[in-house]
Assembly symmetry: C2
Homo-oligomer: 334 residues x 2
């Protein structure tokens, strides 16, 4: 029923192979022949059958994206940008939600999902490096995020420690000395909370300001986590002149709580976050934060994966890319 390459070949008076050559931008083809084929394609409204092409070539021109859940804003924004960059290179992105469950992550790595894609952008949340290495198969995989830092894998991530140090330095430069840190879980340097806390401590050391553990509060990386964390500091009577939320949600929650309790921002307390989500710009006061280069993460991970798929990136070792960051100074901490 649909128009096939055979129909085009017949209409153009050439062989199948010639049509294929035109379609695949084969170099050595006479302009006249090419034009005949192009005309036939236009006239018949021919569209290549992607499934047939995939079956024969073994390529689907799809990238798999494995993440926990699209309803988490960070992943949704990342997915959106990845799709845009992939599309610019002629690829589509097929998303698989793992719910951060090991079983789901594993089946995304080796199940039918894998067949449908030429390569994987993988956010490992539940699986460890060894398991992934054992099941990653032969198609390229690029890791996203900081949970896996293993030389065997390609990895694209952000400068957590450096960015946290930069924003802490900014608060220090504006004269703040007692900077509360909300959202730190541990000093385990392999995950984001640990890396960001380390950056904070590094900046203090550089400025010659002593680290005070009383200013470090553990909390959920959510708006209400930040609100109750800053609330507990206030209730305890701990003194502070600035708050660094380890992500924007925490910082926004803290800001809200401070405002409700009658504190002036940034007069009494300066507030800074991390992530530069859309909301940060629209908050009142607008939130000073650090943009961890999501755009760059998206661009470079797509480029790396496609280069692997197409054989343009030949290095046999895992490549580690760290996107740059940018300080966004706004009203909450000028």
């Amino acid at each position: 029923m649909a128009v096939t390459m055979n129909d085009v070949a017949r209409a153009a008076g050439v062989s199948l192979k010639t049509v294929s050559n035109v379609l695949n931008d084969y170099e050595f083809i006479r302009p006249v022949t090419k034009q005949k084929v192009l005309d036939a394609i236009a006239e018949l409204g021919y569209e290549a059958n992607l499934t047939a092409r995939s079956l024969r070539s073994g390529k689907t021109r799809m990238l798999g994206l494995v993440l926990s859940d699209l309803s988490i804003p960070y992943y949704a924004e990342l997915a959106s940008r990845l799709m845009t960059f992939a599309s610019a290179r002629g690829y589509r992105v097929l998303v698989e939600q793992s719910g951060a469950e090991p079983g789901h992550e594993l089946s995304a790595l080796q199940g039918p999902f894998r067949q449908l894609t030429d390569g994987l952008l993988f956010t490992p949340l539940a699986l460890d490096a060894g398991t992934i290495a054992a099941h990653q198969g032969t198609k390229p995989v690029v890791m996203l995020g900081e949970h896996i830092a293993d030389p065997r894998f390609d990895l694209v991530t952000m400068k957590n420690a450096e960015a946290a140090a930069a924003i802490t330095a900014h608060l220090l430069a504006s004269g703040r000395r007692r900077i509360a840190v909300l959202g730190a879980a541990s000093e385990d340097t392999t995950d984001s909370p640990g890396l960001r806390l380390n950056g904070y401590r590094e900046a203090l050391k550089t400025a010659g300001v002593e680290f005070d553990p009383a200013l470090v509060v553990q909390c959920d990386w959510r708006r209400d986590g930040g609100a109750s964390a800053v609330g507990s500091l206030l209730d305890d009577g701990t003194e502070f002149d600035a708050v660094f939320g380890l992500n924007d949600a925490i910082a926004l929650g803290a800001m809200h709580e401070l405002l409700i309790r009658g504190h002036k921002l940034p007069g009494d307390v300066a507030v800074a976050g991390f992530d530069d989500i859309d909301e940060a710009r629209f908050a009142s006061p607008s939130l000073t934060t650090v943009s961890p280069g999501m755009e760059e993460i998206a661009e470079r991970s797509v480029k790396l994966l496609i280069d692997r798929i197409e054989g343009a990136e030949a290095s046999s070792e895992g490549l580690h890319v760290e996107a740059g960051f940018e300080l966004k100074v706004r009203e909450s901490a000028p």
Copy 2:
């Protein structure tokens, strides 16, 4: 290189067709034969080649989802749920971002994207009903949202007017009489703002409260829109004892502005929204709003589309489904 059905057939000592029968749950097959095939599959680690299956059967087991941008939280949450429901029926979801541009919407409707999917979940934002009807092709399409209400199409949407009336009635029942409405654009009944404003007016009429146009403020459906809209009411000296934001972002922005200006919530002003986004629960005070049944929208649209694809839904007319809604009474308007 990969294990094929032929390998399985050989290992099990049966023909290709018999393997295919087992794979496709054909009824009339001897248990012994079936077991032999199953054993061979397990032993060889056979996995069906989905591309070959698609080429032959003409089905991809993928649903296309066309929306403006995944970075918009409402769409991201919807996409997440759609994927979950589709997955339960053995389908995947392939997302295409249109940017709400007519050209992109059109190419999603008829371009190569269409080939890759068995049916479309389509959020028409830029295209009108006539254009869609002319280009929708032969595969099923289910419309999402209220921009297109045309008997030719299957449509799954929410009860905008009824839900808005319910939340207005709730504010009235708590004794509020001057309820500001933020975000109304027009009374055009075909889009969400118009439908929700109509619901508000309907509830006023039922309660015998006169409608005051001075309480209706137009603004962007965003946090800062709500903040500046309520700000302008305060600046003008317009009196009001409640605010109904036509979506949660507006309501949250208004709430923030009211708090900053020293108003007590809900003492001085009750605030209500629409959408029940995650943030509404975590705001302080938590936001009274209406949940428009996104779960149900996702479930029923996936069911309708798959039933169309599989021929289980035979009605030739467009089916119109309206999901139920649920009032979420919280602190901001008890």
